[in-house]
Amino acid sequence: MIWTAVLGCAIGCYLLKLAGLSVPPRVLERPVVRRVADLIPVALLAALVAVQVFATGSPGGGQQLAVDARLAGLAAAVVALLLRAPFIVVVLVAAAVAALVRLV
């Protein structure tokens, strides 16, 4: 199933790129289409942050919300971003702080 998703994502992402180079530019120049397209990454990335930090497996097999070491990791990532740290540093700081909180 993971291979299906990997290859589906790969083919789809390539076709999305090719479509941009191939269709007449005015097709997607309608303001509404462009606004939605601009906001999609923002909405999805924000949701991914939230789910990644607060969602955890519940005993019943589904998902539930939890506050744990990951929130400390996210807070550390915010500080790193405010200090204009490069991407890899932000990621490492988030990981290291969460790991440290779990140790103590």
Binding site: M1, C9, Y14, G20, Q63
Partner: protein, 243 residues
Amino acid sequence: MPGLEPARRRAIVRDGLAVGVATGAYGLSFGAIAVTSGLDVWQACALSLLAFTGASQFALVGVVGAGGAPLSGMATGLLLGTRNTLYGLRLSTLLGFRGARRAAAAQLVIDESTAMSVNRESGEAARVGFLATGLAVFVLWNAATFVGALAGNALGDPKAWGFDSAVGGAFLALLWPRLRDRRNQVCAVLAAALALVLVPIVPAGVPVLAAGVVALGLGLLGRDTSDPTEVPDPDDLPEGGLR
């Protein structure tokens, strides 16, 4: 059209290489996070080679790592990939590629190559910027993914190293440069809130996809404020950030 001076060409190529090197570090974290999320080394490498667009790749492995259905991860990745379509629209007349060259160039349409080509002084300079940046990022991103995936495999328990938290940090770093705009801030808060409300009630992976509704709603309601052909500026790129 006058040709590009050799010195100018070298300068553009050098900029592209610098962006590629910075992106390599980001590829290391993708490879490591992918294998600790449940992909194997080859799946991680296939994504970098064939999908080759950072945010979509991170979305897929993030959803899978959080216990979501791989197909939900795929759908999230595809939605994030739509912004490359907009870049392509902007680039098509500028680059002027046709046929097989266009089909090959399409794979290189990403944040970095777009940012390093759209503001050039001529079509030829744009093509040099696009190809130098796209190829440098492609080579280093794929090499880094492979090394990162091997390293991730060697690390053992991902939670002990805080890798689950690293994924949240990665998404936040991708989101960060987009949060200067007021409408984007509102969108981010609403989308995160909607996703959290849905977490206990729907299967994993669905809350993130559902948050796309917020983008749809705000986009339909909103008025136009920004340049319709806006693309990332070189200064907007975090060091090594394919967003």
